[in-house]
Symmetry: C2
Amino acid sequence: MDAITRIERALAGSLALTERPGAPPRLGEAMRYAVFPRGARVRPRLCLAVASACGDDLPELSDAAAAAIELLHCASLVHDDLPCFDDAALRRGKPALHRAFGEPLAVLAGDALIVLAFQTVARAAPLSPARAAAILVALGDGVGVPFGIVAGQAWECEAEVDLAAYQRQKTGALFAAAAMAGALAAGAPADPWRLFGERLGEAYQVADDLADAVCEERESGKTCGQDVAHDRPSAVRSLGLAGAVRRLEALTEEAVAAVPACDGAAQLKALIRSEARRLLPEKLALTTA
Amino acid sequence: MDAITRIERALAGSLALTERPGAPPRLGEAMRYAVFPRGARVRPRLCLAVASACGDDLPELSDAAAAAIELLHCASLVHDDLPCFDDAALRRGKPALHRAFGEPLAVLAGDALIVLAFQTVARAAPLSPARAAAILVALGDGVGVPFGIVAGQAWECEAEVDLAAYQRQKTGALFAAAAMAGALAAGAPADPWRLFGERLGEAYQVADDLADAVCEERESGKTCGQDVAHDRPSAVRSLGLAGAVRRLEALTEEAVAAVPACDGAAQLKALIRSEARRLLPEKLALTTA
């Protein structure tokens, strides 16, 4: 079964919990609206790619970890889009959740998606309680305090911003968690995968800054020009377009170099390079080819 | 060590994560503001009381479970107080978190507290991965979909409200999770404790409705008269003051009758009855004595 099929099936399985008789129906609708139809599923595919590279001997546990990573990502998008942050109009090519369901359900759907991520892995724990517990720690560190994506977002509320911490936490942390959770699901140690995940996260952030700057709204499915509008740090603003493209390429090679020794290392490195080419906005791929 | 000392120490230990160099300082301040100074700590005390009744052979795991329950409760208060819900001015006798730190940090502090609850138990998992995983499932069910407190809150966004589900989920679910997590931390099965926790939760909700109706602002430390102001269901509105007091007494006895057989059953029953007397607002204790 290919990675996307596994991920979509695992997400559908998790979200089926919302459909039990006696549950509030619109909350479940809002949660499914946040998760489907799918975006690129970059983070859960990373999780499964690392699990495969490490042997993937408990694929149901890997699927649970991958679904959890994506649920946390979707939750962060829902809350980041709220009026008190970006007040984004569009997300994945349709109205942002709070525009479609109202602000109360956007807060609650985000909360419930965070919880569902942990429920998903905890419910898979009978496969291996020790591995599941380690995955849950990695998930918590990727999203919570002190250095997860919520902490990254919170830097926007500080008077003085630690830029390196902001960028590493806001994007890198969940990529690191995705890679580490994939390794843990396959019984491999997590720490050797942290740097690899962080570099990929930085590369992805640069690609996102590039897409925002050249306004590829059709592709990213969200409102563009947000970095300038919200005066946010961006690789394009600090390095220029060509500089940001070079930075994306350098980070990709650093990620490739950071792949720990494992049976599937060569295949994983090839996958990373091909993904990085796909991430470069089309307009720029033409001008820098 | 008494229960409150254990709980405060466990919460302080969890929140110490926010103080690592490189973490955004105001997020940590906001999270501590949400958790300290303490409220009644009713749910974590329930968790520890059940753990004690079941032998409490891994007290550090019980402490982690109790802290997690309280962190989830504090998170729900922060998000329920947001402008898109109650827009409450006061909580525990001081400005609600979004009034003190702004709405963005209120959203993020709530998110981070939810995550911290799961981190706290996952980090204690080496004590017993299987018990920790079961506790994490109970926590997730208590707070998330389909029937946790987030689902309960989401009933306020439905056109047609299932009143019984609303009340059971909004308060009962986390009480049930507290009791079940306490049993699981001590290696006992969780299911026999669900009904006990749910009845206590209902009793507590009735006590809360009574406090809101007689406006004991000094004691509850939050804005009173909210049920009428927001047209919310309330035991006082449906049963009257005296009827609600009788309901509180009946639910307390149902909870006592639901205590499963265990070594500490008699002590636990005595504790429940004494707590229920404390919960009755002073004004009513005088008039109904």
